[in-house]
């Protein structure tokens, strides 16, 4: 066999990874064992192979012992394969003569029995040694990276990423589902802990998005199809009709004034239903694009076709209003994609014991954000749904967080925004405020100081998760109040606290359609539904799909500073790819041995990328190397064994199988 590939000289290197591996796997024994295997010229164990001296050790051996195959038993190839391949190249050996054995993640970290773990490591090394004999020299495939970028989601994350890229001179497509960009941040009143007004810091960024020559903003639009691969994505965007022609509309908003509905009459989504709007409306004054849209469910023209169309008259010869507008499909090509689709606020109805939806004076934190907002439905005046002004307020933390019944995770921001709301409510109403918390978590710049400030403002902090919010009264002091029953765990007794207003600090959860979205883009998702980063520490904004990056709460709960930082990081990652100009692809492509192929076409339907084709002239199958992503499904399907796959040749895998099984 080996003769087929010339004289094989293998070097085997077993890494201790400090004690990470050595504590469970007897690295010395493994190295000694490997030394006795056929074709193995050098075999060593070493403390940290990924370190410079470690790599140098390998390079030196390649030179001294004319090694032409390298087996490294250490961590996961996902972590260090690149490192060791580069090391080998450094000594003039083709990178693909290197093979890694995972004896850390798959062994020392998951096993406890030293003997069994060592045995397993030896089996795996033996398999690798037999495998590399059949390795061949390969060249990496280079594909160019399209310089344009798609940013999905127009919240603060998407906005920041888009601006960063645009300012770097890259063309950016920013696609937002809602009629305006701004996301959740646009709904907030103040931001913790500095209490600077959200609108004041956000709206300038929003308008510069609109104004930026490098940014194409498509609001009220959805990504409907994604094809291709890193550097060369083909994306289809569906632009839902606003019934306003954006080229003609000047954003004067007179049409809204003129609507036949003199008074706003319909649920105003942006204000969480606390306010009203007209059928033709703009979500909020600083919305971007600064342009109204028509809600066909409430617009008379759409419902009956019999409307005076005062809006059209108001628009006059601009003729910007177009009832016949249809959905438009746009197809774009981009090289990289940044996902910034944000989050969904927890639906408080899922915790019925807090009475949201039953008792009108129970609010969610997001509703309160609007309520205290100067540009909100009550112009910042805090009045309850029953018209009263609250004298006592209870703020319940961790609603839809840290709860096996709803969401297990901590939403990270609730503690701080609850403090913020406590402060704002006190400021607006001078009410007596009770915070009910399980733990106060203020890990952030200026956070703990803010907590101190609240304490000094005389806000009550009661450590205990409220059991129930009810309206049943034991005595007159509790009549017409909402009563919170809770254990004050610091006093060690149960308390009944009557309040006028209850605020539920709802947590952060993934969008309902998060799974569909990431399937559309074809990348991973954690079990709870947040987008999965490539590595929690070392690749926090990359996904397992090259060229797609994540930023903001779609990846996990985080506050505005973290979101912006992550958005910047995602933009930088994209820039790095674009400026390199190309990506090197793993040469694990499949290929047809032409004169062995019978042209049976079994392979053709296997390929989701149409890389496999049937050549009608030669009557043989063929594979476009650029299109092939190296899954190997066609290889496994080929009935006559005439398709092979670089790096995963049948022989290599058969050797691995026999390697792990044949005891030596």
């Amino acid at each position: 066999m080996s003769e087929r590939n010339g004289i094989v000289r293998i070097g085997v290197y077993v890494c201790h990874c400090g004690t990470n591996i050595a504590a469970i796997v007897d690295c010395k024994a493994v190295a000694e064992y490997a030394g006795g295997l056929y074709h193995v010229t050098v075999s060593r164990d070493y403390k940290y192979l990924c370190s410079d001296p470690g790599q140098e050790l390998i390079r030196q051996d390649i030179r001294d012992h004319k090694l032409n195959r390298i087996v490294v038993a250490s961590c996961s190839p996902h972590l260090h394969e690149h490192t060791f391949r580069t090391a080998a190249e450094g000594a003039g050996l083709n990178a693909f003569y290197v093979h890694m054995v995972n004896i850390r993640e798959h062994n020392s970290w998951v096993h406890e029995n030293r003997e069994a773990a060592t045995k397993k490591a030896q089996d795996m090394v033996r398999a690798a040694v037999r495998r590399v004999v059949f390795h061949q020299s390969l060249e990496k495939v280079r594909v160019p990276v399209h310089p344009d970028v798609l940013v999905v989601g127009g919240g603060i994350a998407g906005i920041h990423a888009a601006l960063t890229l645009a300012n770097a001179g890259k063309k950016v497509y920013l696609v937002e589902r809602q009629p305006t960009i701004g996301g959740h941040m646009a709904m907030f009143d103040k931001t913790f802990p500095t209490l600077d007004c959200a609108a004041c810091i956000l709206t300038p960024k929003m308008s510069s998005v609109k104004a930026h020559p490098n940014i194409t903003l498509w609001a009220h639009s959805d990504v409907t199809k994604v094809e291709g691969y890193v550097g060369n994505y083909k994306v289809e965007v569906a632009r839902r009709p606003r019934y306003i022609n954006e080229d003609l509309c000047s954003g004067c908003l007179e049409c809204i004034e003129a609507c036949v509905y003199k008074e706003p009459k319909f649920i105003d989504e942006f204000n969480m239903g606390l306010g009203k709007r007209k059928p033709i409306y703009i979500p909020f004054p600083q919305a971007v694009p600064q342009m109204p849209l028509i809600d066909i469910d409430t617009c008379i023209q759409f419902k009956s076709g019999k409307c005076k169309k005062t809006c059209v008259q108001a628009c006059g010869d601009r003729h910007a209003i177009d009832f016949s507008q249809k959905e438009e499909i746009r197809n774009i090509e981009v090289g990289t994609i940044i996902m910034a689709t944000g989050f969904k606020a927890f639906d408080a109805r899922r915790t019925p014991y807090y009475g949201y939806g039953t008792y009108p004076n129970v609010y969610t934190s997001l509703e309160v954000e609007r309520l205290v907002n100067a540009s909100g439905p009550t112009a910042g005046d805090v009045v309850l749904r029953d018209g009263r002004k609250p004298k006592t307020v209870g703020i319940i933390h961790c609603v839809g967080s840290r709860d096996e019944g709803t969401n297990r995770w901590c939403s990270r921001v609730c503690c701080m925004y609850s403090l913020k709301l406590a402060h704002l409510l006190k400021e607006h109403t001078d009410a007596e405020i009770f915070n009910f918390y399980i733990d106060i978590r203020t890990p952030g710049k200026g956070f703990e100081e803010f907590y101190q400030r609240l304490l000094s403002e005389g806000v009550h902090f009661i450590r205990g998760r409220v059991a129930e919010v009810t309206d049943w009264a034991l005595d007159p002091t509790e009549e017409n109040k909402l009563v919170l029953r809770v254990e004050d765990t610091l006093l060690g007794t149960v308390r009944r606290i009557p309040v006028d207003m209850v605020v539920l600090s709802v947590g952060i959860e993934p969008h309902e359609d998060a799974q569909d979205v990431r399937r559309l883009f074809n990348f991973g998702c954690g079990s709870e539904g947040f987008f999965l980063e490539r590595h929690p520490k070392l690749a926090p904004v990359s996904t397992f799909t090259d060229g797609i990056f994540v930023a903001g709460c779609c990846q996990g709960p985080k506050d505005i500073p973290d979101t912006v930082a992550q958005a910047g990081a995602a933009a930088a990652e994209a820039l790095a790819l674009i400026d390199t100009g190309f990506v090197e692809q793993e040469p694990n492509t499949a290929y047809v041995i032409e004169d062995e192929c019978s042209g049976c076409k079994t392979c053709v339907p296997m390929c989701p990328y149409s890389a496999v084709y049937f050549n009608a002239d030669t009557k043989r199958a063929g594979i476009h190397q650029v299109l092939c992503k190296g899954c190997g499904t066609c290889v496994a399907a080929c009935p006559s064994g005439s398709i092979k796959q670089h790096l995963f040749e049948d022989d290599q895998i058969f050797e691995e199988i026999e390697g792990v099984l044949t005891y030596a």
Partner: protein
Amino acid sequence: MPENYEPKIVAFFCNWCTYLAADLAGTSRMKYAANTRVIRVMCSGRVDPQFVLEAFAKGADGVLIGGCHPGDCHYQEGNYKALRRYYLLKRTLREMGIEEERFRLEWISAAEGDRVRTVVNDMVQKLRALGPRKMNPAIEPELEEVAAS
């Protein structure tokens, strides 16, 4: 069955989901049985039935294929191809005298490190209960008595 019988499982894990899940199990220090020998393939769709047959032929007590959940395949449909082959191969193996429990296909996403633990432990436990593989009979049967007249 030998007292310290340790079934040996050849596991084909897809690069994008199950292999990563196994990595995750590692980084989260979950403990599970040391009976698997993982062979990395890019996609569960790469697993040629010959690989499974070879593994059993060479004495594996079990073969485990790990892939992405349906709809989550990094290569869109590879796991469905794997699924279709799996069912036919499973039946074939059964007729060749290899028990169902010995051949398993599991969908384990990159986030399900814990599932790797449970699946492996469960399979090991089932195989222990099953005991070592059945043997091929000797080619020459022991000669029977020469019949008397």
